[in-house]
């Protein structure tokens, strides 16, 4: 066991954990942040994404200690006070969900894309969501929601 410090959604935390434990389980169990999901444990489906220093990263394999000193944002941290993130609003407006299990991966990927590139093309939007497995076939709505937020029309 080791004490590691993690900065999650703007707050610093110290947790005593096995340093090799992947971040996903720490988020879900220590912090009750269940937005990031277990999908495959193989970095193939992106259900477990969080923002790490603004980029979308897998949490199902990487040991939690690798995230020390970095800024972690989870889907729960996107909303600021009463204000939903524009991507969250767009997903609601477009009703971009069926079962919703992949939503975390889709939303985190979209936020990471827009932070890097506020005016992505449709191809760039598709490419950024490509890593996320969606089985219900809601892809076209996800793309539409991201388009609605970006400068792209």
């Amino acid at each position: 066991m080791k004490t590691i410090s993690l900065q999650i959604n703007g707050k610093k935390h110290q947790v005593e954990v096995e340093p090799e434990e992947p971040l996903l389980y720490i988020l879900r169990e220590e912090f009750q942040l269940s937005g990031a999901k277990f999908g495959c444990g193989l970095q193939q489906c992106a259900a477990c994404l969080v923002l790490v220093d603004n980029s979308a990263q897998y949490t199902c394999v990487s040991p939690c200690e690798n995230f020390e000193g970095k800024t972690i944002e989870t889907i729960e941290g996107l909303r600021k006070g009463d204000k939903l993130h524009p991507i969250q609003k767009a997903f609601i407006e477009v009703q971009a969900a069926q079962c919703g299990y992949c939503l975390n991966g889709m939303i985190i990927s979209a936020v990471a894309l827009l932070r890097e590139n506020p005016n992505p093309t449709e191809e760039e939007i598709k490419a950024s969501l490509h890593k996320v497995i969606c089985r219900c076939g809601t892809h076209s709505r996800f793309v539409k929601a991201v388009k609605n937020v970006s400068g792209y029309r």
Binding site: E18, E21, P22, Y25, R28, E29, Q32, L33, S34, G35, A36, K37, F38, G39, C40, G41, L42, Q44, C45, A47, T74, I75, E76, L78, R79, G81, D82, L84, I87, Q88, F91, I92, Q95, A96, A97, Q98, C99, G100, Y101, C102, L103, N104, I107, K126, A127, L129, H130, K131, V132, I133, C134, R135, C136, G137, T138, H139, S140, R141, F142, V143
Partner: protein
Amino acid sequence: MKNFKLPLTNRRSFLKTSGHLLIGFNLFPLSFCSTKETEELKNLYHGIPERPHKGREIIDSWIRLDAEGYVTILTGKQELGQGIRTALMQIAAEELDVPFEKCRIINGDTGQTANEGYTAGSNSVEGSGSAIRQAAAEARLFLLKEVGKEWNISIENLKVKDGIILGPEGKKKTFWEILNGKYLEENITGEAEFKSPDRHQIIGKPYQRAEILDMVQGKPHFVHDLRFPDMLHARVVHPPSYGSKLKSLDTSSIMEISGVEHVIVDGSFVAVVAKREYQAIKAWEKIRAISEWEKSLIKISPKVLFEDMKRNSAAPQQVEKHLDINSAIDKSAKTLKSTYTKPYHMHGSTGPGCSISLWKDDQLTVWSPTQGVYPLQNTLSDLFGLKKEQIRCIGMPGSGCYGHNSADDVSAESALIAKQVPGKHIRLQWMRDSEHQWEPYGSAMQIALEAGIDQEGKITAWKTQIWSDTHSTRPNGKAGHYISARHLENAFEFQKGGFSGGSYRNAAPLYTIPDRELLLHNYEGPLRTSALRGLGAYGNIFALESFMDELAKAAEIDPFEFRIKNLNNPRAIEVIQSLKLKSNWENRDQSRDVGYGLAFAQYKNSASYYAVLAEIHKSEQEGKFRLHKLTGVIDSGQCINPDGLKNQTEGGMIQSASWTILEAVQYDENGITSKDWSSYPILRTNNVPEVEVHIINRPEEKPLGAGEAAQGPVAAAIVNALSSILGRRIYDLPLREYFS
């Protein structure tokens, strides 16, 4: 059922006077701790007190108006991502005349809701929807009568708006005031009339799904997100292949792993329980590494599968009989014969199955993503020899299931483990490779079609032969349908229990064909199979509508015209004609770089009508293609929520495109080799086509099931488009080699 019974009296008055609800349990206690914003305040309404339902025939089993001014709808159906919660609330709000915003809903829970079997076969709106509609209309009538009596006014002189009954001289009373905390325990008599569709204000409008607001914020929603104090985490190590037996496992070395509390070995059922989820996973990995198994081989290899089907199937079942179909076909002006195959397909849910069980004081509670809480209760009763009253199954949203996936298996397994660790909530989640390797698949199928057409292009005779394994092994009361029950020391035997009609679903053409025969060859194949979205309809429509294109070509008739010529069902014809217009068929790109394919079906020949046009383009990669667009038209009768219907139909189209282009379960003699997303790829965003859905709304007709309407037609449309661009027919799925 002592744990779950609530006092039927006093509770309500207590709730009314205390002004706050004390509900049996709050599913997501932690979700309310974080912030104090408006939405959370709204969420402080935690719902009605629990109370077991008292039979389908009383209003209270479907509709409750509570002390706090809300309406709660109870349904035995599950939300699977299809938006059924919203659609059912719309129906209730419409018939009751209450604002939609006042409605809440409770899904399948043996402690609260009526038994509505499985959420399957696109039946929820037709089944539960009509029960709820009736209960709502009946509730409204009862409330009107109550007020009529009190005011001594005939109910014809009363109006209802937003849950308020309005009488002459400005008299008014709300539904909630009338009830004053009482339950609506009146019988549903059938006396109440439904609102006529021209007065509908809620049905037919696009309402947003409330749960999406929670999902986009990552709030707890799924069974996977449930947390209980002192909950333990479990993992099950499934055998390396079907029928393999555990030879040895040194459990002491597993117990040494930090956090591990129990290792359970019962025959070949192996599970581990640990404090933390990751500890359970580490132990699971170690068990896999050190356990020894007597392996059982899969004897029918993929290479010989379709040959074996023809050789080793049962004598055909004559679904539609004909005395001499062969001569009827031979007499036709032109005859054609083709055979089609589809491989085993996976449900492939994004999130592996998960459930939580608690075994306490001879009571078992299971939180499950099952499609049927009562069938689950029945089957657990068989598994444990418990009375049904000792088991409560609470349905929770899971990752999209599209049929019988791991949801029931994982529920039984968490219960098996909970029995060994009484008093603790046991959370079990499957690992990715268990989900891929152990879920029951949609059966591989082979379909041979023969038909004849006359000079005018009318189909004169048609023969269908299907070879398929069963499309339904849902554990409806039989524990042997759980894989783990078969692995126990005292194993339950799996009895297939006959083949269902699922295999020939949609095999009988809707087209007007005077002479026809339909033969089904039931086959016991090498892989575990059960219900996958659409059952046999996917394979059957793929074959039937591919064959229709071949016949149209033989008749030298436009594919739209050929289908219309052979139909006499006006709604079927209208769907096809509408697609022709919407897709701008007359002005299509006729260059050799584009291929189009049409297909049509009425799901189950009794539910939604759906036609689709696929557009395929040549890709930049030499000799390869990409699916550019799918345009669909759907007639589901009276449409409850147009956006929900579109969403589900778009989803079905993309999912079917994925099955058709990419998917086939891989296996060899050692077992299933499709064990993750790289060995079983599915369609991802870059390759998803544009999808466009048009609805023909028929408010005066009854609503028809829609959830599975697109699966079969999309497959045929893609194959027809590909065949057209290739200039030769394709008969076997998937189409992977042709797509970039």
